[in-house]
Amino acid sequence: MSKRTDSNGYTMMFAVVMVFVVGSLLAFLASSLKPAIKENERIEKQQNILYAMGVNENDASNANFVSTKIAGAEFKKYIKKQLVLEVEGDKILRQQNRTEYMSENNNKEPYLIDVKKQQANAKDGKVRKLPLFVGEKEGKTFYVAPIRGKGLWDAIWGYVSMDENMVVQGAYFDHKGETPGLGANIKQRYFMDDFIGEHLMTDAGVFKGITVKKGNNDAVNEDKTDYEVDAIAGATITGDGVSAMIKKDLSLYVPYFKNLKK
């Protein structure tokens, strides 16, 4: 039994038309929704930074951002300075403030710096720009830095807020596609809150980072100077990714903090 739809010509035609229709439909949708999506992502970055420095609407066990409506205003209120650093080894080559950076980069806000692009720049031997947000809340100063790395399936990233001694004051982690219930739990309160109070640097000034460790005998996380937090069961690789991005990205900021103390 041969049908009209079995012929090669029809099959080719169908394939071409289908690709054309589906392709243009998706392209149209993607480009017409792009401004709205970009705006959502921009607000989310502000919410993430504010979350890390403790400006959030957390209840007993859930992580909640400040609402999208007030995020912009809160960001202006709490974030006093946005710095862009260029670091080589243990020397700061250049430090720009927000106005300097914006006049050089088409009025782009420093908090919109794409960490992924900057990491790629560093790999190509170009200068990596390191954004650092200085916030103030209730008389305390917070230094918030973005970090980015690899999880099990896809990218993971986050914001860590520190005091002038590089003691963690708050952390926010997020991921693109970690396993729900396992690796995806890095954005749960019980994991993120463990980082609060952890030291990143020894008193002598050696950068240690924080390792997400299995069986560290400190499940309640009382020891804040062991440079370790308890891992999530069943999410070893995601946890290792978190340790790695903290070590790699935050170590770049060490010269800045050492300068602060001088």
Binding site: T5, L25, L26, A36, G181
Partner: protein, 215 residues
Amino acid sequence: MGLLSKRDAALLTDPLADNNPITIQVLGICSALAITAELKASIVMAVSVLFVLGLGNVVISLMRNIIPSKIRIIVQLIVVATLVIIVDLVLKAFAYELSKTLSVFVGLIITNCIIMGRFEAFALGNGPWRAFLDGIGNAVGYGVILIAVGFFRELLGSGTLLGFKVLGDPIEKTGLYAIGYENNGFMLLSPMALIVVGILIWIQRSRNTSLIEEN
């Protein structure tokens, strides 16, 4: 079921029991083990598949007379991928919070063998209304198993349900933990999902012996 004829009603009810996509046809196992460590993720996945399979079955059924048989699998894949991407984009623009929750499921939905299986086995040969009923029936059958597995894995693995500590606090040693109960960390790992599904299959077959194949 006054609204539906007996044949149509069977499309809805068969996948719930004696023709369940997971326990009888053994389809959709990959997602059943990937995302059932938590009850909430199981529910989200079940609802997403309900939506995609119901709609996808109708679309494929409407196109069934013009799809060239040589490339029908590719066409099915494109239909389901397009549907999922459209939903994902629209959510990202208008319900960003929800899209963050769902984003990890997008890939899992596209590659779910139940969806491809129903397109191929049913929607290509039946009208849109029956295809819709078949899609809903199979998605619910899939969802029921997913939620059952998610329930046991979260309860026994983490001692929580939907994030609530129903068995007490393992660190503070309250509730069941006060008398020496421990969470079973193995429940959180993928192999246990298959073992739980296996136990469900066992229960189902011992209740309905006609399902057992003769050797």
